[in-house]
Subunit: 323 residues, 2 copies
């Protein structure tokens, strides 16, 4: 049975991925799924749950000793928190990533070179920093303007070198902002992109902390799970050593997001959005990329929604009314 380890398995994407694997298996067969995270909500387990912290001594080694075939590395301190808590961001987002790679390399060595797990690293478009060209392709430089972006870019470089050496078989997927996130707001600077849709659909007020002219790229949680599954099964040889892929998404302004909400849920939903500028959020978001050329990923079969209305509809179908 294929052994799958989901780091950050207690998070929103990790949980959706685990439920997808529980429902569909891996390549049509049941999979042995382990979820690892600092905590789990008391929802239906879709795999073995292990509570722990990758920064604890021995934690990565214990997980690697099980020799998972596929490792989804989703664990991270989110962008807003990594910006305010410099030490914690670097320790978790960079050093724990290094420790994981080293633990897997030790198993590779111990196996005589036969063990070489697929690692799918969830990177981010935050690896890019302004100023931007009209379209950002996979050849654009990674000049991040947040600590979170720097940590993600560094993990991409580490993963590429460990993969080049043959210790692991990695691929980094740079996710656009995942929207609409179900549940509560989180400390990510991008949290409001979900909030302004989710809260009104749940009859609650939402704060819009930036101008509605802000343009950004989005994909649904469902698309994110699709990206992860696709990346886990793809032939990485075709990447020619450039293992970082800009994922597709819908590029739109906040005003266009709001218009899509109006079309689906009416003016009364839109009236629940209250503009209150937050300079800290404005400062982070203004340096984020807006539009991507994801031709490389699309050619490899990665797909997302085609409109923001589709993204809202996915939230309504998958998450609205569920806790």
């Amino acid at each position: 049975m294929t052994k799958i380890l989901i780091l950050g398995g207690g998070g929103m994407i990790g949980q959706k991925l685990a439920h997808h694997l529980a429902d569909n298996g891996w390549n049509g067969q049941p999979a042995d799924v382990t979820l690892y995270d600092v905590d789990f909500r008391p929802n239906g387990a879709a795999g073995q749950q292990i509570t722990g912290n990758l920064t604890d001594p021995g934690a990565a080694e214990a997980l690697a000793a099980n020799r998972p075939d596929i490792v989804f590395q989703l664990a991270a301190i989110v962008s807003g928190e990594a910006e305010t808590n410099f030490d914690k961001g670097w320790q978790v987002n960079m050093f724990a990533g290094w420790t994981l790679l080293e633990a897997l390399r030790a198993e590779h060595t111990a196996s005589g070179g036969t063990y070489r797990p697929r690692i799918v690293f969830s990177s981010s478009i935050a690896v890019f920093g302004a100023p931007f060209p009209d379209q950002i392709d996979d050849e654009f430089l990674t000049a991040p303007l947040t600590s979170y972006g720097a940590q993600k870019a560094i993990c991409e470089l580490m993963l590429a070198d460990f993969s080049r050496k043959g210790f692991v078989d990695g691929v980094s997927i740079r996710l656009p902002t995942i929207c609409v996130r179900p549940g509560k707001p989180n400390a990510a600077a991008s949290s409001f992109f979900s909030g302004i849709i989710r809260e009104p659909l749940n009859d609650q007020e939402a704060i819009l902390p930036v101008s509605d002219s802000v343009r950004h790229s989005h994909a649904s949680p469902k698309s994110a799970v699709g990206f992860l599954i696709k990346a886990a099964g793809m032939d990485t040889e075709v990447l020619g050593g450039r293992l970082s892929l800009n994922m597709p998404g819908v590029s739109c302004t906040v005003a266009e997001q709001i218009e899509a909400l109006r079309e689906i849920a009416g003016q009364e939903a839109v009236d629940l959005i209250k503009p209150v500028q937050d300079p800290a959020i404005v400062a982070i978001v203004k340096n984020w990329p807006r539009t991507f050329d994801s031709a490389r990923a699309r050619a490899l079969g990665f797909t997302s929604e085609n409109s923001f209305k589709e993204i809202i509809q996915t939230y309504i179908d998958e998450d609205l009314g569920r806790s």
Copy 2:
């Protein structure tokens, strides 16, 4: 008196930089220069020499406690050794770089934010990996194909984030291959580029391990010292947060290098070059970049030689006949 710390001060560039500072001072004034390295050749000291290893616990903190105004970070495991000794390369080239930044940040914090040293990080064109466009500018992605290149790219990202946060004031200069290096060959995969000029000029045979069609970019040790001095004194605000600069150099093929040698030293010098292909060197060098667009650095006043003949002449003037 300006306090200057040269990490890797025992190396060839470190020594030339120290002698330049001893002869010229800093901004026309004598400077307080400290050299730090794992060992020093018994040549004339041009500053206080401290023997030690940045990877030793407490070493970086002890150096930072002196609060140098300028830190030249030249210390590194060279490309060839970083490729064969994976652990050592990462420990020295990445982790020691991190430890240094953390030690300087601690002094910044202890000073109440007033201490903010200029750091000049000697990066490398090895941050780039094939395939390449005709000209590589500062916006081209860093997709290194050696561990050395990955480590350099990561240190650039760390330095940029510590600088963005205001803990230090850094700039990374990506050096082309420095040629003609005086002295003995080293473990850098690029060592032969100097060897095929230096050894014949000293009446010795030299091995050429690659095809003479290989194109690469070069600057003299004298230019490298000029880059470092320029970077130490520049206004980093003009970089707009993109702190990595491709340094200028002379792009030429090995055949053109040899032709320049012939013009200066005659056919008998050229006859001392023996082609013996080395697959390991060929494999590394084929993934190195060939030609740069250094327009950004040139606009900021960074200059190098204009021909390979000039580079050879610099070696003859500065180093030939000296031990």
